[in-house]
Symmetry: C2
Subunit: 389 residues, 2 copies
């Protein structure tokens, strides 16, 4: 099982590390998402060049296509997708609960229809463990129920209770050398959050994930719920806040003691022409970049900013050339990975608070109402949204 | 000006080389096409990894977007697109004559409307030279008129005459260190072909291109016209057959004394899931590949075949992942580049005839009627088709 070392703390912020057979992960760490066994638009060498240490792949998507058995016949995800670093798979819980009317929940598990072809499938804690064993990631996630942001107290309580029972079954069904992380829930109720985290803290798992946040609630609620969740968690295990990935959110969460993150945001924004800069998102389709012979971000050390002008990148976007999506994705992932590298250095040097304040003072987040609208649009697509494509 | 060395001949087949300030080109050589200053789906390092020595970019597309002046402000195409090897630009003639009703030809040049926004532009021999000077490629092409495959003798004669007058004007307007290649035409009339090639042979140009072939005529006509064109061309200059790129056509043309080729075929087919193999094209969407744990082509040394199973590549195509287009493009370009490397070795070792026969005996070309249908579809898109996107 995974050994986590806490190197330093600075306030609640933590610098740590853990080892996997595929290499070490220094935390805090951002994990790029390779939903379908590929980080969209990037080859493994590009991902490696961003400094990313560990990838996330989605068990839900891979069990449906191409199927966990085919991946297993390749010897697992590492060989299948040609990534020799650490991999984490999520359990499919989040995706299955995003399916809405296409799924039916019972104490045993969830039956659902595939978003691809409507075929009928079942996920249970035991099946989620078996699928993830076949996929062969270094870190695997418990099967949980994620209630929506607007869930009532009764709904959130029931989902959290079920998540606890399913975690016990995942632990019982877990027979591989893979590191199993549990997930705490609790909806938007601080006392449920604290109770769920306390339950998780008592379990024999390698790491602790905080699920069900950043699902549509306001930012202030996110941080209130995160604080309630982090409080009871043990110091000596990694803490993973699922599905969070904007630069300002990473900083806020690291400040509160989180070690790991994943999100499709950097690659999804990249494909829309939005690139992270120290001042906020830059829209490369904007005419402002048409004549810019320098890089998008002069302070950036990514392969894109080292080798290409902003004007060239804009040309690729305007001309709808596939290379645009790749160069922008490289940049955005590198931005988040480097942000975590700098956060780690600041923690070790006991200056995280000043580092975070300076970053947040300069970085202009995307407008919250725009953010909500965008999220509503994604969710309206209806199928396996959130942490999906 | 470019110095071409003819290393060896084997029958009519030739092994040669030329030097540019950006490096050498060993011939016969296939040039991948980077229409809009990017080989679709590939970064320069990927193209380099295929063994490609020289790229083609399209002056027509680049003058319209992002404009030659912006490229010039970057210091030229090499810096703009981050490719430090040799580049050849075509003159825009082929694209402009593909515009149909959107252009008007006179003795002076061609006025046309942009396929992007309908804006009005003019290309003349002088303007084609100026645009290509600004783009800064190592090899530039004369501005020519390419008559369609069905052109009458009168039409072909007029177009060929105009091509000759325009070549003289291109030579007069050419004031850079770039190597200027002339183009011969002649429609589908062997005597016009021979006369045009004889005219070109007498001009002060660095290389000789054969234009207006593979534009919809039958294969037997293509080879008849090629033979008529090659006959009068000088031995000591490179010969470039424009827009040809199927494996079997490359072999047939090398056999007849051609040194250089370009075509969008390998990258276009790749994006459709068709990969070259020694037996013909493989359609990766086909279920036959779903469980194939080995590479698409076990004999191939490309980055794709070295690192990925056919089943993974098929998964990417079925899941519509962008990486699919890149991995397939790498493979197809490498296939053609390697084919030319093997042809060169065979010529040097005086065994080209046997090599060509063995290749052609095994390789099953795409059905000619399917090929014609596909071509008609491309042309029906109406705008800057052929050598375009």
């Amino acid at each position: 099982m995974l050994q986590f070392t806490l190197d330093t703390t600075d306030g609640a912020a933590r610098a740590g590390r853990f080892e996997t057979v595929h290499g070490p992960v220094l935390t805090p760490a951002f994990m790029p998402v390779g939903t379908q066994a590929t980080v969209k638009s990037l080859a493994p060498a590009d991902v490696r060049a961003t400094g990313a240490q560990i990838l996330l792949c989605n068990a839900y998507h891979l069990m449906l296509r191409p199927g966990a058995a085919l991946v297993a016949r390749h010897g697992g995800l590492h060989r299948f997708m040609n990534w020799d670093g650490p991999i984490l798979t999520d359990s499919g819980g989040f995706q299955v609960f995003s399916l809405g009317h296409m799924r039916k929940v019972s104490a045993g598990g969830v039956t659902f229809r595939s978003h691809l072809d409507g075929s009928r499938h079942e996920l249970t804690p035991e099946r989620a463990m078996a699928v993830q064993a076949a996929l062969g990631a270094d870190v695997i996630m418990a099967f949980d129920e994620c209630p929506p942001a607007g869930a009532t107290r009764d709904h959130a309580t029931a989902a959290t209770e079920r998540t606890h029972r399913w975690l016990e079954r995942c632990i019982a069904a877990h027979h591989t050398e893979q590191a199993l992380f549990g997930i705490c829930q609790g909806g938007m109720f601080a006392d449920l959050r604290a109770a769920s985290a306390a339950f998780l803290a008592a379990q024999d798992v390698a790491g602790c994930a905080i699920g069900g946040l950043s699902v549509g609630e306001t930012k202030s609620t996110t941080w209130e719920m995160l604080d309630a969740s982090v409080g009871p968690l043990p110091q000596h295990k990694p803490r993973y806040m699922m599905g969070v990935g904007s630069p300002e959110d990473l900083i806020e969460a690291v400040k509160r003691g989180v070690d790991m993150f994943d999100c499709v945001l950097p690659t999804r924004l990249a494909r829309n022409g939005a690139l992270f800069t120290p001042d906020g998102r830059a829209n490369l389709r904007n005419a402002r970049w048409a004549e810019e012979l320098g890089p998008v971000d002069p302070a950036c050390d990514c392969a894109t900013c080292m080798d290409y002008s902003a004007a060239y990148l804009r040309h690729l976007f305007v001309a709808e050339e596939l290379l645009a999506y790749r160069l922008a994705s490289q940049h955005n992932i590198r931005f988040l990975v480097r942000l975590m590298e700098r956060a780690r250095a600041a923690i070790i040097e006991q200056r995280f608070e000043a580092f975070a304040a300076a970053f947040l003072a300069r970085y202009r987040p995307a407008d919250e109402s725009a953010r909500m609208t965008q999220r509503a649009k994604w969710l309206a697509r209806g199928t396996a949204g959130g942490a999906g494509a």
